[in-house]
């Protein structure tokens, strides 16, 4: 190779992107601005969409509505009612019980399913889609379907139990079993959703560390426990956040299957709030309920977000 071989032309690069910009536009502050500009549409849009509803609901929460539809300022009356409302506290407990149970089930099985799918690389796309099909089913339809399947007298579930010699269960009709049963239904529907998110996360993991783990002699289980799981944690926490916001507002399946029953064994805060608002027309109190629920969800999201920061690598 001849020495002095000229690589680039001696002319400086042409058309320097933005080099003619004024100094102010070139700064790192400007970069921050550009960053802000990237998230601004989402932020502005969200604010535009939720500001009025939130303010309006807050305002409603301070109102009472007489049965003739007249409203008046009630101060914190709705909120003090909340504190003494056993139905509220019960709803809170149901909500949390369902949340914890469902989230645990969905995360555990979601991760499992994601791993299973991840390793089944040769599975045709359409079959893979079928694996994640449950959450593509409208929740209401899923609820209806499970209502039939789990009906103690009509459903396939007990039929199968009995035909293999197991005792039938009352499923949704039993005050003790209704929460686990609903959690199971919800988990059936949403485990694949968690799995899909985790699968996406699995795909973006650095692959070279797996070779290192092999060399270090890690068994498949150890690899999962010490490499995959920690690396996936941010994704898992994200999935948990997305599930939490839905789980804490548990509604569809309960509304379809039990309407909060039997008794009020599955009366979540959201179901309760909905009925107070749309069936009993106690808009003020319903607003207070829903805002409280929103605050709870918000708290959970903040906590999870903290966790997300802590597990980042």
């Amino acid at each position: 190779m001849p020495a002095g071989f000229v690589l680039a032309g001696t002319q400086p690069d042409r058309g320097q992107e933005h080099m003619s910009d004024t100094a102010a536009t070139l700064t790192q502050d400007r970069q921050k601005l550009e960053m802000a500009a990237l998230s601004a549409p989402a932020v502005v849009f969200t604010v535009a969409m939720i500001a009025f509803p939130v303010v309006y609901t807050i305002w409603l929460g301070f109102q009472t509505f007489s049965t003739t539809g007249k409203q008046s300022f009630a101060g914190l009356a709705n909120y003090s009612k909340l504190i003494s409302d056993v139905e509220f506290w019960h709803g809170l407990w149901v909500t949390i019980a369902l949340f914890v149970l469902s989230l645990a089930l969905q995360l555990v099985f979601g991760i499992w399913l994601a791993l299973v799918l991840f390793h089944a690389k040769r599975l045709p796309g359409i079959v893979r889609s079928l694996f994640i099909s449950p959450f593509m089913m409208p929740p209401v339809v899923a609820g209806m379907m499970w209502l039939v399947i789990l009906d103690p007298s009509l459903g396939a579930a007990n039929y199968i139990l009995q035909s293999v010699g197991l005792p039938p269960s009352d499923w949704l009709a039993s005050p003790t079993w209704v929460i686990p049963t609903v959690a199971l239904i919800d988990s059936w529907q949403w485990t694949p959703y968690v799995a899909l998110i985790v699968l996406g996360g699995l795909q973006s993991l650095p692959t070279s560390v797996y070779e290192a783990a092999q060399i270090d002699g890690a068994s498949p289980f150890k690899t999962f426990q010490r490499i995959t799981l920690p690396l996936l944690l941010p994704t898992i926490v994200t999935a948990a956040i997305l599930r939490s916001v839905d789980l804490l507002r548990f509604f569809d399946i309960i509304y379809i299957t039990t309407q909060g029953g039997p008794g009020n064994s599955s009366n979540t805060l959201n179901v309760y709030g909905f009925r107070v608002g749309f069936e009993f027309f106690n808009i003020g109190y319903a607003s207070a309920l829903m805002l409280t629920l929103t605050a709870i969800v918000f708290g959970a999201v903040l906590a999870f977000n903290r966790l997300r920061g802590a597990v980042a690598w």
Binding site: L147, E279, F281
Partner: protein, 407 residues
């Protein structure tokens, strides 16, 4: 005299419909309406719960987006009337009618149920109520007669339990918010009332008897999981031949008969009598004009057409029990009735409903929907044996009194 169907030619009426057999039957003739009036009918149909949700939103926003909507006066009448969501139809129903409309021909009971504070709020579209379905073959096999009283029902259930253990002797609604529909019939037959002296009256002897009887029937003779039962499960169970007696809405006839398995072995009755005889629950969907409608007079034309004898006759032929006795006697309708024995019995039961019926489902207060919760709660507590009856009714009374006091 100078009534002109074409008066509002070119106008558009928006109809918020509850997507059920009633509206479906009605809307098969929407083209007739448009042809008759030259108006355009826009239909927005939803399932009941959703329709109500949309309606509440629209009305709360004082929106004129809905002209006409379907309503259940027995359930939300008080509430909507109090909120002022109904336009007053009294004058229009009297003055602004075609000569063959015959407002007087409509079921007076239903008209009365739709009148609040002297204002007529909706025009009845159909007539319905819970009726008693039973299996004639099983009754025969077990040597039973058609029940005449509530006691007979219980006795029959007892007998069937031993005579044919494969079937559920008796089934009715157990789902909390749905209970009131059937339970009210029981309560009234037994002679109880929801309220006495402005107070909840469930703990009265009659009240307790009703609660006890209803829950006992379901607990001892009903299917497992009955606390989640509403029309879907009841119909499915009965249709599948797995219940000997079912107490369920007259509307469910079509569902029950689907597949034809129950066509020949079903008997239909109004719910058997109690101490107070037969006081069946009779309700019906009504058609109301929104108080926010900018064109109540236009909307009325649609209401009038939909509840006119002619249309109701056509609807009746599709199995919608007509809220007009005159239609019920119409020869063409009778012919349809005679096609199937069950229809005959069905119409007979409905005739009882039309004449003796009460539209009281739950407490006659503004917070009627909420009152149904507490009734349902008491019944469920008893079915699930979570409380003794005294406590169940006392708890319900307490909550209901609080509700009543809000009125």
């Amino acid at each position: 005299a100078d009534f002109d169907w074409m008066k509002f030619k070119g106008k558009t009426v928006i109809f918020l419909a509850n997507n059920n057999p009633v509206s479906q039957a009605l809307l098969t003739y929407r083209a007739d309406f448009e042809k008759l009036t030259g108006m355009t009918l826009k239909v927005d149909g939803y399932q009941e719960q959703q329709m109500r949700q949309r309606l509440v939103t629209v009305m709360n926003a004082n929106s004129d987006e809905v002209d006409v909507y379907m309503t259940l006066p027995s359930r939300e009448g008080e509430q909507f009337a109090a909120a002022g969501w109904y336009a007053d139809l009294t004058a229009m129903a009297k003055n602004d009618v075609a000569k063959d409309y015959d407002p007087a021909g409509l079921s007076q009971a239903l008209l009365k149920a739709a009148t609040f504070n002297g204002k007529l709020t909706s025009m009845p579209m159909n007539l319905e109520g819970p009726i008693f379905y039973y299996r004639t073959d099983i009754f025969k096999k077990c040597g039973l007669e058609a029940p005449k009283t509530i006691k007979d029902v219980e006795a029959a259930a007892e007998k069937i339990k031993t005579c044919d253990s494969t079937v559920t002797p008796f089934v009715s609604r157990g789902l909390k918010p749905a209970v009131a529909y059937t339970f009210s019939n029981m309560l009234h037959n037994i002679g109880g009332t929801y309220m006495a002296d402005g107070k909840s009256n469930l703990c009265s002897a009659k009240g307790k008897e009703a609660l006890d009887t209803y829950s006992r029937l379901l607990r001892d003779f009903g299917p497992p999981g009955v606390v989640n039962y509403s029309f879907q499960q009841i119909s499915a169970l009965y249709r599948g031949g797995r219940a000997a007696m079912a107490f369920e809405s007259s509307n469910e006839l079509r569902t029950v008969m689907e597949g034809g398995a129950r066509l020949k072995d079903t008997g239909l009755l109004p719910f058997p009598a109690g101490d107070a005889g037969q006081v069946p629950t009779t309700i019906g969907w009504g058609m109301a004009v929104s108080s926010h409608s900018k064109q109540p007079d236009v909307a009325w034309y649609f209401v009038q057409w939909a509840t006119s004898p002619e249309v109701q006759k056509k609807m009746a032929l599709q199995g919608i029990a007509p809220p007009r006795p005159s239609v019920a006697n119409d020869p063409e309708y009778r012919k349809w009735i005679d096609e199937e024995p069950v229809r005959k019995e069905w119409q007979a039961a409905l005739d009882v409903l039309a004449t003796k019926g009460s539209s009281e489902v739950g407490y006659p207060i503004v917070a009627n929907p909420q009152s149904r919760e507490f009734i349902g709660q008491a019944v469920q507590d008893l079915i699930l044996k979570q409380k003794p009856i005294d406590q169940a009714c006392a708890d319900a009374d307490k909550a209901l009194d609080a509700l009543i006091s809000l009125n």
